[in-house]
Symmetry: C2
């Protein structure tokens, strides 16, 4: 029997999905599980976005252009204009989800053995794409004490090696919810120019900012040839299953290379391109309503978390995630225990252990990520569960709380 | 400005798409172009397949399971049963097109530097996926004189090296239309067992066989742990834009590895999974009607080709492609000339130069691939154009014709 590849062996398993069997077992026992573990919003996909697909009348479900339908790309030009990003439609390549945009950037810009430098904690699937591309993710650590602000320029400089080819951020951030400021992006620009690096900017959550406007890496003057924007309709329009994203850059050489990868896989999905194109026509108050809802959830979640003894959660500026420090020994163990051995009034909650978001061993052991993608009633009940759970968790530790008090 | 990766530089451009600008220019001049160059069928997608999506009533376009909807995978179990392939739904992973199935197999089974051995001419995008995975495509040559039958076992054995990890076939074949027999598959089995190789079997055109039944690699007794089936709904239901395929294997270790790659990219497209699931319920006479149409087209195309002086085209047993030998010096040049410098009564045709389907330099220079995805009226007109074109092509050569006559 032939063996699988080393790459297949070394490919990291999803740190979130490994808990799924425990959640399924809990549900089988009749326990209600509040899912704060994944970024699948409960917000309905806008009706006019789904209707655009349902009312379509083509007769052949054809391949689209490998870069996506030209009409959709032209429409996206108007979308980006709202953020002061001036583009032509040939600078936009429609991808199969934001995932493929990340993969294409890794493939076209980095060779096997090259390094991409990312502040940790970071979106765990970057590891997977890096493993596929043979690329190494190197990290500098951002701290819960600063709310996961960008580490200082010197930290980056210490971590940059001759193999470093790109810096990468997710802004606003998954998993921390941190919203990078214009000043922080200027620091990244300085680094990219000084060390001749690409800046990969994953802006999946652009619209979901609660403490000010989003500043896109695409608006960094003088960095146009370095910036590659990874985008997606998944979170913006609650359309995760569409698998439609975009890679945007003004670097023609990168566009030309990526088109070759895009042609090899023929085309992005046709149905959801129709959805994506219709979504650009949504009235702007669509986002105001969604943002108001997420803001309510964030405020409730963060307030309730910080009232639980021993818990600390910085207030995230964007996206719909928060990372909280808990008085626990091991977040993987604790999250499994929540599903396997705990219930309060027939309910429990599913969280994402933060260990999966760090590359540095030992970090994230007392942190969890919470996605506020469930309604406020459910968040309230879930936080009561969490408080009760921490009261009786057998391996509770006060180290985290003491560290938190000391840091305040 | 940072440079693109070596991988990005070396990634092959699509051999077909590079002619697209010439076709566009021809159309701008008002010339009618018959597209025999790509595998986009003109057959309508079955109404009930499109209606399943149009009549769907979910409210949130959610991520599906990373392996695809369980209901769809269970339905596919019944689809494969029709071909005597016994599976459970956990042996099926829904992919984003057949393309992703190929990519997943390369990633999970082969490491950078490993070799996959393919009879040439072969589907050109295998080169692209191999470049992404750092894998080398090695080839043995099949010949137009035998209609592109499987080369002899000794030819394979000469080409197998210590780095060879897999054999790969497309059955029935793109680009040749050749339908491999059960006996030929047994030869591949013997090779796989002797050299401990995977057998990657791309069966995108399974239903389109005109000279007998299809024998799937999945039915090779004793090779269960070696076979990986790559499949797609694209051609079967004229649903290329859905981007829904499947990877099927009974090798649990491979399935486990591939699930990690599948989880990293989250899920396959949700809309078209609904379409794929509905397609399994189509009555069997759907395929009879489509096959009857393709058979008419094949017979017309091959007959007309073989009546053109100096042209030879073996009769393909399946799929909807044929490779013809023409009395020309260089197929790339000739195909460009057809678009750039030729028209007959305001019409011309677009063909795929066969050079793009060979890895061995110099092969395919006097061959083209024709996809019979246009109706018989158009095929007739296109063949008249081709005959007229060959009469006046300035770099016509009789070498091919002489070789053909000698070989008969």
């Amino acid at each position: 029997m032939p063996t699988i590849s080393k790459r297949g062996e070394q490919m990291p398993a999803s740190p979130i999905r490994k808990l799924v069997p425990y959640a399924e077992a809990a549900k089988k026992k009749g326990t209600k599980v509040f899912h704060l573990n994944i970024g699948q919003p409960d917000i309905e996909t806008p009706k006019q976005v789904l209707d655009a697909v349902r009312h379509s009348d083509f007769k052949i479900l054809e391949y689209s252009h490998s870069a996506g339908n030209e009409s959709y790309r032209r429409k996206l030009v108007t979308y980006y204009e709202r953020f002061g990003i001036e583009l032509n439609h040939e600078q936009i390549i429609i991808t199969t989800g934001g995932s493929e945009a990340i993969m294409f950037a890794f493939m076209a810009c980095l060779d096997a053995g090259d390094e991409v430098l990312v502040p940790e904690p970071f979106y765990a699937n970057y590891n997977g794409f890096a493993a596929e591309a043979g690329v190494t993710v190197t990290t500098i650590t951002s701290s819960i004490e600063t709310g996961f602000a960008l580490p200082a320029m010197e930290e980056f400089e210490k971590a940059i090696t001759p193999r470093t080819k790109a810096l990468m951020i997710c802004n606003p951030n998954n998993p921390t919810g941190y919203l990078y400021s214009r000043e922080e992006l200027e620091v990244l620009k300085e680094l990219c120019l000084k060390y001749n690096l690409y800046l990969f900017s994953d802006e999946a959550y652009r619209e979901f900012c609660y403490i000010g406007d989003h500043f896109s890496a695409m608006n960094l003057v003088g960095l146009e040839q370095h910036v590659i924007l990874m985008d997606t309709i998944s979170k913006r329009y609650s359309a995760c299953g569409g698998r439609i994203g975009a890679l945007v850059t003004k670097n023609q050489e990168v566009l030309d290379a990526i088109m070759k990868f895009a042609q090899a896989r023929l085309s992005p999905p046709s149905f959801a391109q129709i959805a994506g194109e219709a979504a650009v026509d949504l009235p702007l108050n669509y986002f105001w309503e969604i943002k108001a809802e997420y803001l309510n959830r964030r405020d409730l979640l963060v307030n309730m978390l910080n009232k639980i003894p021993g818990v600390f959660c910085p207030n995230p500026g964007g996206a719909f995630y928060a990372i909280a420090r808990l008085p626990i020994d091991n977040s993987d163990k604790f999250c499994q225990w929540l599903l396997e051995s705990f219930e309060y009034e027939g309910k429990t909650l599913m969280l994402a252990p933060a260990t999966g978001f760090y590359a540095s061993p030992g970090l994230g052991l007392n942190e969890v990520r919470l996605a506020y993608v469930i309604n406020t009633d459910d968040i309230r009940q879930a936080m009561i569960c969490l408080e009760k759970a921490l009261e009786i968790y057998p391996d509770r530790t006060e180290v985290a709380m003491e560290a938190m008090i000391a840091s305040r």
